[in-house]
């Protein structure tokens, strides 16, 4: 129980710290501006106005969530170390794992609030322009949240042992690898079927693609914008299994981050 209480206190403080961060407000205002701009895009586009607005807004949510996760998330632990506030905090009867989990939950709450604000604006906008604000859009927003939950865990993992710039680069690397791993595997298999490579290269590339696909979190699973916008039904239990998938990766990343953080010396 004391551990849960400590996690809660650290999470609340992290939330308070993050909402005072100017970067956060810049990202949120930019996201709101882009969301509103999607109305103009819808008017200009040759495609269906409702489709453009919905897909643009969901992309804005995903991108702004990513920016918050990376730029605010990475600096959270690094700031504690550089400003030496971590010395006083960790001298209390708090495990380093509680510290990491508390920081994680604090930032997750920030992303949740951010997505909630954008979702409210999104629905309001759709209602005003009569562009069928269906409840199924919430599925896409929820999966963006699950994706950000993984990205924040990755950002915290890297920031527990690396510098701010490197952590940002590593996290972006994992993000792109996670989105492209499925396509990479498909492309390698396609090239193999078409006989474009010799047998040795095919085996080698396929193994590499399989490893990348297996190791990196498959973030492409959380992008269901096209399904939702076109009203295509998702498979049964899709949300449930992808929630389990996200929770599993978050657990693994936080466990590694906590283990690494526990080994650190604080000078």
């Amino acid at each position: 129980m004391p551990t849960l209480k400590h996690i809660g206190i650290i999470a609340l403080n992290t939330f308070r710290e993050s909402i005072r961060d100017k970067i956060l407000y810049n990202i949120i205002f930019l996201a709101i501006a882009l969301t509103l701009f999607s109305i103009v895009l819808g008017e200009w586009s040759v495609f269906d106005r409702s489709y453009v607005i919905k897909s643009t807004t969901l992309s804005v949510m995903s991108l702004s969530g990513l920016l918050i996760s990376i730029f605010v998330g990475i600096s959270l632990v690094q700031k504690e170390i550089q400003r030496r506030t971590v010395l006083t905090l960790l001298s209390k009867p708090i495990s380093r794992a509680s510290f990491i989990v508390g920081k994680y939950l604090g930032l997750l709450a920030v992303v949740a609030v951010h997505l909630t604000i954008l979702t409210c604006i999104f629905y309001l906008m759709l209602a005003v322009i009569s562009a069928s604000p269906t409840l199924s859009l919430l599925t896409a927003v929820y999966l963006i949240f699950c994706e950000m939950a993984i990205v924040i865990a990755v950002a915290l993992l890297f920031s527990s042992f690396s510098s701010t710039v490197l952590s940002a680069l590593f996290t972006l690397g994992i993000y792109f690898a996670g989105h492209l791993s499925n396509q990479l595997l498909e492309q390698v298999r396609f090239a193999s079927r078409m006989g474009e490579m010799d047998a040795t290269s095919t085996a080698l590339f396929e193994k590499a693609a399989v490893v990348i696909h297996a190791v990196f979190p498959g973030l492409y699973r959380f992008n269901v914008t096209n399904y939702v916008v076109h009203g295509v039904a998702l498979p049964d239990m899709y949300l449930f299994w992808n929630t389990i998938y996200a929770v599993g990766y978050v657990g693994v990343f936080l466990a590694i981050a906590s283990w690494w953080f526990s080994r650190r010396d604080f000078l």
């Binding site: 209480k5 206190i9 403080n13 710290e17 010395l87 006083t88 009867p93 708090i94 010396d265 604080f266």
Partner: protein
């Protein structure tokens, strides 16, 4: 309260991970109820030792126990209060908000938390208007007081303070000294490092001196200074020729003044004066201060 035996710590830094031995076979013990001063020059290993005790640094070898538990175990910090050197805090909070945050982390809440914050602020003479201002506007002295206040909020059995008097004006130093003594009277064991040796001499029950990662002296202030001998400065009514001075007595730059290196030399000089009818005008005994001894130890380590 604190038990350290044969503690070793090596830092590795730079691209080639060049090792630097920060602590070399450090051993000492702090008994319950003591005010224990830890002194030494910059870079001697004081903060390293303190960070090992608070679990902020891992160590290579040796045995370390805090409240009977290894600092690697979170439980060792249950009854521990710590204020780092030049404490830094979340500057977007006010002093009171910060204390509320740390108070909750040590299990306080509601009215108990408020009364404990009030008690800590009064003890450190920090119950002023500035406590409700943002920490970014605080002076070094205000920050130091808040740092000590957060350390004592949980009523710890052991209080570890790293340079608690640095950055304080004379009034502030007096307040912190008094706070340390009050807490100690209430049964808190205090282990602290300091550069201000006069303060250490005045409030410490025991002192350890660390130079270049090694403990070079340990004991009460009297034990340490007495172990370095006592000099006697004697002024006579008549001049004594240097050649006539007994063994262990040397001239002091004035024909009527001389210095006895120890008790035996003093007795020989007194006998000499009695037998030659020389009157003693004045005799002072001079014990080396902690500063003298520390300076000597630093010079020895450098050589």
């Amino acid at each position: 309260m604190i038990q350290i035996e044969h503690l070793h710590k090596t830092y590795r830094s730079g691209f080639l991970m060049k090792p630097k031995q920060a602590l070399k076979d450090v051993s000492f013990k702090v008994e319950p109820g003591q005010v224990y001063g830890f002194i030494g020059p910059n870079g001697a290993g004081k903060s390293t030792t303190i960070k090992v005790l608070t679990g902020l640094l891992n160590y290579d070898a040796g045995k370390v126990l805090v409240n009977g538990i290894s600092p690697r175990d979170v439980k060792s910090r249950t009854f521990l209060g710590y204020s780092p050197e030049q404490p830094y805090f979340y500057d977007y909070l006010s002093g009171r908000e910060l204390l509320q945050f740390y108070g909750k982390l040590v299990g306080l809440d509601g009215k108990e938390l408020d009364s404990r914050i009030q008690w800590a602020l009064e003890l450190l003479h920090a119950d002023k208007d500035w406590i409700d201002r943002r920490l970014r506007s605080y002076s070094k002295g205000m920050m130091q007081r808040v740092g000590i206040a957060q350390a004592i909020l949980g009523k710890p059995k052991l209080l570890i303070l790293d340079e608690p008097m640095s950055g304080l004006d004379p009034m502030g130093r007096r307040d912190v000294r008094e706070a340390i003594q009050t807490l100690n009277r209430d049964g808190v064991t205090i282990f602290y490092s300091s550069h201000l040796l006069s303060d250490v001499e005045s409030i410490s029950h025991k002192v350890a001196m660390i130079v270049d990662g090694k403990i070079v002296r340990e004991g009460t202030v009297d034990e340490i200074t007495e172990s370095c001998g006592v000099e006697y400065h004697v002024r006579t009514r008549q001049a004594i020729l240097a050649a006539d001075l007994p063994e262990g007595v040397t001239p002091a730059g004035h024909p009527q003044e001389c210095v006895c290196s120890d008790d035996a030399a003093r007795d020989r000089l007194l006998s000499f004066c009695l037998s030659h009818g020389i009157a003693i005008e004045k005799m002072d005994h001079k014990r080396p201060s902690l500063e003298d001894i520390l300076t000597e130890e630093i010079a020895r380590a450098d050589s």
